[in-house]
C-alpha cells in the first residue's frame, strides 16, 4: 500500500511534522508565559519582596505598589484631601492647614525619594514634591502618612528633587519655572531660578543657589560633594522657540561644601529669610558642564563614579566623571533618552521616550569607547518616561526588577472611555536579555518610582497608633455645653458603638467634637460621617481627631461608621439632635430623658438665643 502510494507516506510525514511543530511551538510559548508568571506571581496570603513607591502625579499622592506583583496596596494622599482615609478633610487637620497655607488642596507629585543612611534607604522618610505649587512633603514610613508639607520660597515649579547621599544631609529641590531675579515683574532682565537645600529634619530651606535657565532633574554624588541638575533654556528665553536655540545646555554641579562655606561667610543675599548664593558673585560653587541641548534626567551611578545626563532631543547620554566633572563619553543610545537606572553588574538602563524602549548598555564599554556597549533593547508600551530598577537610585542595586513608567497605554487595557489609564511594566533584568514580565495600570499619573525592601520596613511599620495624651479615654466620654452657643463632645469609638450614641445641640451651635478610636487591634478602622454637615473622617486604632462645625437646621442627623468594621457595622450609628434655636429643653434634661450612654456634664446653662 505504502509502496504503491508513496505520496501517502509523504503526506503523513508532513502532517506529523506540522503537528509536532505546532505542539512544541505552543508548549514553548506557554512555558515562556508561565516562567514570566512565576516571577511575578504572589499567591494570596504571600507578601511582595519590595515596596514600590510611585508618585501619583496630578492625583497629588503616592501609590504604594507591591513588587513583583504590581498590586496597588495603598495610596498615600499628600496634596489632596481623601475622604476614604479621612486625610486633610477638616480645618483642624494639621495637613489641611498646611495645604491651605501653602497653596491649595491639590498637587502634582513627581519624584519620590527615600531617606538614606550610608547610601541605602533607612526606612525613615519619603519626600515628594508638588511641582505645581512649589512644595515639598515628607511621609513617615512608620505610619505611611504625610507628616509635613512646606512651601519652598523664592521658586516656582518644584521639579527635580533628590536626597544628598550618602546620609540625607539635605533634600535638593529644583525650581523649574524661572522667575524675575529680583522678584519684580516690571524688571525686563532675564529670569532665573534657584536650587533649594532643605533640612530633612526641620524641613526648613537652609540656602539656595541661583541658576540661569530652567532647572530640571536632580541627583547627587554619592560622597555628598555635588548636587547635579540638568538645566535647559540657558538662552533664558520665555517662549518655546526661544528655549531651543543653543546647541548645548548644561548639567550644573553645585559644590555643596563650598556653598555651605559661602553661606556661613554671609555671602548670600537674603530673601524671605533664606540666603541665596549667586554663582556670579560667589565663584567656585557652581560648575556648568555643557551637554546637548534640553537634556532631561541626570542619574549618578551606584558606585558614584559617573553622572549620566540623558539627551532627550539628542539620541545620546553624556557620561560625566562625578569627581572631576569632565565629560568622559557621549554614546548614542536611541531616540528620546530621558532617564537612566542601574543594575549591580555595571549596566545602565535608559528610557527612550520616542523609541518606546528601554535600552541596556554597559557603562565601562561606553566609557572605553567599545562599539558593543549596547547590550539589549526591549519594547515598552508606550512613550516611557521614568524607569527605575530596584535600588538603582542607591548604592546597592538589586539587579532583579525594573519598572518602566509609561506615559501612554493605548491598546493595553480594556476600553474605559477616552481617559485611559497609565501603564506600568515590570521587566526582569536579572539576565543578559531583559524580559517583560507583567504590566499593571494605575490612575494618573506616576512619573517616577523608588523601591525599598519589605524586610527593611517590617520592624518599623506600625499597625495601630499609640493614643495621644489628649485622647478620649473609654469611660471619660462627655457632652458639655461650654457656652450659650457652644457644645463640646468627647467621643469614643469601638465595635460597634459610638459613645455617646446621641447628643443634643441647638441650631447654629459651634460643636467641638473630639473623637478617639479606642480599638487596640490592627485594621479596626472606624469612620465618623455626619450627613448634611460636610463631615467624614476615618480613624485608625488609637487615633484622635478634633472637629469643629456649626450645627445645621433643626432635625435628627445620624452619624454612622463608614469603614465596615463588625457584625453590627450597620447599627454603628448615633444621633445628633439639633433643637430649634428657641427650644426650652436643656441639654441635661434632654440627655436624662433619652438615657444617653456617656457622661453628661451640665456646664454652662443652655439658654438658646435668650440671654
Amino acid at each position: 500500500m505504502i509502496k504503491r502510494h508513496p505520496f501517502i507516506l509523504v503526506l503523513v510525514t508532513v502532517a506529523a511534522t506540522l503537528a509536532a511543530v505546532q505542539t512544541l511551538g505552543c508548549g514553548a510559548a506557554r512555558s515562556a508565559r508561565s516562567i514570566a508568571a512565576d516571577k511575578i506571581y504572589v499567591a494570596p496570603g504571600e507578601l511582595d519582596k519590595y515596596y514600590g513607591f510611585l508618585s501619583g502625579g496630578q492625583s497629588g499622592s503616592v501609590f504604594v505598589v507591591g513588587i513583583p506583583s504590581g498590586r496597588l496596596i495603598r495610596e498615600i494622599p499628600v496634596f489632596e484631601q481623601r475622604a476614604a482615609y479621612g486625610y486633610a478633610m477638616h480645618p483642624t487637620d494639621p495637613r489641611r492647614r498646611e495645604l491651605e497655607e501653602t497653596g491649595g488642596a491639590w498637587g502634582d507629585t513627581h519624584h519620590p525619594v527615600l531617606s538614606e543612611t550610608d547610601g541605602v534607604p533607612d526606612g525613615r522618610f519619603l519626600w515628594i514634591n508638588d511641582l505645581a505649587n512649589g512644595r515639598l512633603a515628607r511621609i513617615r514610613l512608620d505610619y505611611f502618612e504625610a507628616d509635613r508639607i512646606v512651601k519652598i520660597p523664592n521658586l516656582q515649579g518644584a521639579h527635580g528633587i533628590a536626597v544628598v547621599s550618602p546620609s540625607t544631609k539635605y533634600i535638593v529641590v529644583n525650581g523649574e519655572f524661572e522667575q524675575p531675579t529680583d522678584g519684580l515683574v516690571t524688571n525686563p532682565a532675564p529670569y532665573t531660578s534657584v536650587v533649594a537645600f532643605v533640612d530633612p529634619e526641620t524641613m526648613e530651606v537652609k540656602f539656595q543657589v541661583r541658576v540661569n535657565g530652567n532647572i530640571d532633574i536632580a541627583d547627587t554624588s554619592k560622597d555628598g560633594r555635588f548636587a547635579f541638575s540638568t538645566v535647559y533654556n540657558l538662552e533664558q528665553g520665555r517662549t518655546m522657540g526661544a528655549m531651543i536655540q543653543n546647541d548645548r545646555d548644561a548639567v550644573v554641579a553645585i559644590d555643596i561644601p563650598a556653598a555651605e562655606q559661602a553661606v556661613a561667610a554671609g555671602r548670600g543675599e537674603i530673601r524671605n529669610a533664606i540666603p541665596i548664593l549667586d554663582p556670579e558673585q560667589v565663584p567656585g560653587i557652581l560648575t556648568l558642564i555643557p551637554v546637548p541641548k534640553n537634556p532631561h534626567g541626570v542619574n549618578v551611578t551606584p558606585d558614584g563614579r559617573y553622572a549620566i545626563a540623558s539627551g532627550k532631543l539628542s539620541p545620546t547620554v553624556t557620561i560625566i566623571d562625578a569627581h572631576t566633572l569632565k565629560i568622559v563619553a557621549e554614546p548614542e543610545v536611541g531616540l528620546g533618552p530621558l532617564h537612566t537606572t542601574f543594575d549591580n553588574r555595571g549596566n545602565a538602563y535608559t528610557s527612550l521616550f520616542l523609541d518606546s524602549q528601554v535600552v541596556k548598555w554597559n557603562i565601562d564599554k561606553a566609557v572605553n569607547g567599545s562599539d558593543d556597549y549596547i547590550v539589549d533593547r526591549i519594547n515598552v508600551h508606550y512613550n516611557i518616561g521614568h524607569l527605575q530598577a530596584v535600588g538603582g537610585d542607591h548604592m546597592r542595586p538589586a539587579g532583579d526588577y525594573l519598572l518602566a513608567l509609561n506615559k501612554l497605554s493605548k491598546d493595553q487595557y480594556i476600553g474605559v472611555g477616552p481617559d485611559l489609564p497609565e501603564n506600568q511594566e515590570i521587566i526582569d533584568i536579572s539576565g543578559e536579555k531583559m524580559k517583560m514580565l507583567a504590566a499593571f495600570p494605575t490612575p494618573p499619573e506616576p512619573h517616577d518610582a523608588t523601591f525599598m525592601s519589605v524586610a527593611l520596613l517590617k520592624p518599623l511599620v506600625k499597625q495601630t497608633y499609640t493614643p495621644a495624651a489628649d485622647a478620649v479615654q473609654a469611660g471619660q466620654e462627655r457632652v458639655v455645653r461650654t457656652g450659650p452657643h457652644a457644645v463640646t463632645v468627647d467621643m469614643t469609638l469601638i465595635r460597634s458603638a459610638y459613645t455617646p450614641d446621641s447628643f443634643d445641640v441647638r441650631e447654629g451651635d459651634q460643636v467641638t467634637l473630639k473623637v478617639t478610636n479606642v480599638e487596640t487591634i490592627r485594621d479596626m478602622i472606624h469612620g465618623f460621617a455626619l450627613p448634611d454637615h460636610n463631615l467624614n473622617i476615618a480613624l485608625a486604632p488609637g487615633y484622635t481627631k478634633t472637629l469643629t462645625f456649626a450645627a445645621g437646621k433643626p432635625g435628627v442627623y445620624w452619624y454612622y461608621c463608614t469603614n465596615f468594621c463588625s457584625a453590627l457595622h450597620l447599627e454603628m450609628r448615633g444621633r445628633m439632635v439639633v433643637q430649634p434655636k428657641d427650644s426650652t429643653v436643656t441639654l441635661t434634661d434632654w440627655h436624662a430623658a433619652e438615657n444617653v450612654k456617656g457622661q453628661v456634664v451640665a456646664g454652662v446653662p443652655s439658654t438658646g438665643d435668650k440671654p
Binding site: I494, R495, I521, L568
Partner: protein, 185 residues
C-alpha cells in the same frame, strides 16, 4: 533527693505559682492571623487581651465575671499550702513528721482537684449564663474544657494550665514523692 528537699521545693513551687499565671486561654479565628488572643487567670484576676476579648464578647452575650470568689479562695489556699509544705521540711524522721507530710501531700492533691472542679464550674457558667439579648444568635451555649479546645462561633478557644498551673502540679508531685521518703536528720 530526700524528703526535706522535696518539701522545700514543693513549697517554693507553690510560692512561684502565685507570681505566674495559673491558667491560660488561647483564642484563634480566621480574621486574627498571627495575633491569637490570650487570656490568663493570674493572682490579680483575668489578664491579657482583656480589652479585645471584652469587645468581642458583647456579640455573643458573654461577660467576664465581675468578681471571682473562687480565685480569692484559691490564692489563699496556695499561700497556705506553701507555708504548710515548708513546715513539713522541718519535721524529722519521727512518725508525726511522716504523717504530717502525708497529710500535706493529700491536701495539695485535694486542693488541685477542688480547684479544677471550681474552674470547670466557672467555665460552664461563662458559656451558659449569657445575655439572652446578645446580637448574634448563631452561637450555642458552650463549656470550655479544663484542658483542650472548644469551638465558640468563629473562634477556637484552647484552655490549658499556664506556668503557675504546671508549678502546682509539680508541687503535688514533689509532696507525694517526698511523703514516701525518709527525712535525713
Amino acid at each position: 533527693m530526700n524528703a526535706r528537699a522535696c518539701y522545700v521545693l514543693a513549697a517554693a513551687l507553690c510560692a512561684a505559682a502565685l507570681a505566674t499565671p495559673l491558667w491560660g486561654f488561647a483564642m484563634s479565628a480566621p480574621q486574627y492571623p498571627d495575633e491569637t488572643l490570650h487570656l490568663q487567670i493570674a493572682r490579680t484576676g483575668i489578664v491579657g487581651d482583656v480589652h479585645e476579648v471584652e469587645t468581642l464578647q458583647q456579640y455573643i452575650g458573654v461577660r467576664f465575671p465581675s468578681d471571682l470568689p473562687e480565685l480569692v479562695w484559691a490564692i489563699r489556699s496556695i499561700a497556705a499550702l506553701a507555708a504548710l509544705l515548708l513546715i513539713a521540711a522541718f519535721f524529722g524522721r519521727q512518725r508525726i513528721g511522716h504523717w504530717y507530710r502525708v497529710g500535706c501531700a493529700a491536701l495539695v492533691v485535694v486542693f488541685l482537684i477542688a480547684a479544677a472542679a471550681a474552674v470547670q464550674a466557672r467555665l460552664y457558667r461563662v458559656g451558659h449564663e449569657r445575655d439572652k439579648n446578645a446580637p448574634i444568635r448563631a452561637v450555642r451555649n458552650f463549656t470550655p474544657p479544663l484542658v483542650g479546645p472548644v469551638k465558640v462561633g468563629n473562634f477556637t478557644v484552647w484552655s490549658f494550665p499556664h506556668v503557675g498551673g504546671v508549678l502546682l502540679v509539680g508541687a503535688a508531685a514533689f509532696s507525694i514523692f517526698g511523703s514516701r521518703k525518709r527525712a535525713v536528720a
